[in-house]
Amino acid sequence: MSLREHFEIPGRYKQWSFGLMGVGVLSLIIGYIMYGGHEQGTRFWATLLQNSVYFLLITNAAMFFFCALTLGMGGWQLTFRRVTEAISTSVIPIGIITFVILMCIVFGGKTTIYEWLDKAAVSKDAVLNGKKGFLNPTFFTVWAILSIGLWSLLGIKMRQLSRSIDDTPLSVEEGKKYIFKNTIWAALYIIWFALTVASVTPWLWLMSINAHWFSTMYSWYTFASSFVAGIALITLFVIYLKNQGYLEYTNEEHLHDLGKFQFAFSIFWTYLWFAQFMLIWYANISEETIYFKTRFDGAYIGVFYLNLIINFLAPLLIYMRRGSKRNYATVTFMSVLIIFGHWLDFYQMVFAGPFPDHVPLNLFDFGVALGFVGLVMWQTGTALSKHPLLAKNHPFLKESIIHHT
């Protein structure tokens, strides 16, 4: 079998990615004129916050995916591992964008997104005063730099390791060493991931929007949300490349496992969603229920149920059958649905804080989201075209080629 080793970006792919980025920039300009230029830019910045954080976390989830599988000695993903690596390169540009947006929100002083920024209010408020050591601009900035910086650096290192053996077939001993080295770096990334995405970072970026409220499930919940959407993103790129005639060794066995991942982590997301919701609902303590007051009982009730239907019921019922996980059309449909569903999930995480009375969702939000989609497409496409699509000297490659579920 002759392999098409290098991805050549088709003209239409380029047009689409630039077109979508154009839509994003246009939305940004229109949004700035409509919402951002005023004294209060909350609407404008909240949209940027939601979209940048969401797309940063889902591209970062691709990184988590291959590091977790490396650590677990997984071999089945190797036929399409370069795709996950390519998606993870988007962490760098989107990370920079996110950082700029976060800094504008924290130091720009034009929003009411983070209530802990208001020094006068904090000094009068016992709860916020107690959280001052954690919720302050310095800590926020340092942690954002560390999060995004180390994700990017460890990502670069992992990708370098992967490419370093492209031209050098390994002996058994060298292979063992190579796997060990990979494991070490993947483990470092996972540790940093646990300290950021799975704990502190969502507290700072998203949970502190409702600064009085806290939930110990929150970071896990955010992680689950971004991870499902990340897997869906990987799946979409894999299917796209298959359709273009690349990734010859990837077949419906791999698709089946990606579908299983989406199915399993949709259930995991629901588990965390429910654990967070049910305990607060059952205990019925006003400090805690305040978070669900707007979402479950207020303006966001539609988003609340839609979120549950798209992210739980649809994957549960549609992905349950073996056949649907092996069907390219179903999996494509579900992946798009899941990416949208978790985008909506992030939407209610961000917007129900500063806008408790109405849902301000409109074309501006979708425009910005499409801009980020274009950016991810462009960045991933460029990264894919630079390096061979198959890590052909990886010791576990055969395991992936004969993978059978």
Partner: protein, 196 residues
């Protein structure tokens, strides 16, 4: 429950077994079953077996559990013995979900185990004929059922030609019977040796 005649071919290598299965099937012989010491990936496909319906059964047991839980709790808390829990409504679905989940899992798990035992006909004191005891150790045993038209001699020669290491003919009971391994009485006459 019927005694039938089988031609048994024993293989000692997976790599020989797979092409042999293909050849036996394309020659038109009817494979009764293949007994192996360990699960072999892809053998079910090679034999042309259909997918198991165990998962469909599992789904049905699962929704039975869901329905049982919801209707049970619903009836108890709304009709039979309504209790006021912290001012919550009697129909408070979120509080029921954990129990519903547990019952769904319980029903599907227990149901699937029992169905699995039924499908494989596994139970205490239920005995079945073993064609080759070494198929629990190091041999792959292919059992071909003889029909009225089967020519045993040519089938044996055919098995020989595709790599079977030991070949014999057995008359065996196809169903199960009650008995114990310690005190086994075989309900068929032919006690063909099963050693290879």
């Amino acid at each position: 429950m019927a005694i039938k005649k089988f031609v048994v071919g024993c293989f000692d290598d997976e790599d020989v077994l797979f092409p042999a299965v293909k050849k036996v099937r394309s020659a038109g012989y009817k494979i009764h079953d293949i007994y192996t010491p360990m699960p072999i990936h892809g053998l079910d496909k090679a034999m042309g077996l259909r997918d198991t319906s165990l998962h469909t059964a599992g789904f049905i047991y699962g929704i039975t559990g869901t329905t049982t839980a919801l209707s049970g709790i619903g009836w108890i808390f709304n009709k039979d013995w309504p209790i006021n829990f912290g001012g919550k409504s009697h129909f408070d679905l979120p509080a029921w979900i954990p129990i519903t989940f547990e019952l769904t899992v319980l029903f599907s798990a227990v149901g699937m185990v029992l169905t699995f035992c039924y499908l494989c006909q596994l139970a205490p004191f239920v005995r079945r004929h073993h064609f080759n005891l070494r198929s629990t150790d190091d041999q792959f045993t292919m059992v071909i059922e003889c029909t009225g038209k089967t020519n045993e001699a040519s089938l044996e020669a055919f098995l020989q030609s595709i790599g079977a290491k030991g070949i014999n003919v057995q008359h065996a009971e196809t169903g199960w019977w009650l008995g114990s391994y310690a005190n086994d009485k075989k309900p068929f006459e032919s006690k063909a040796a099963v050693t290879v």
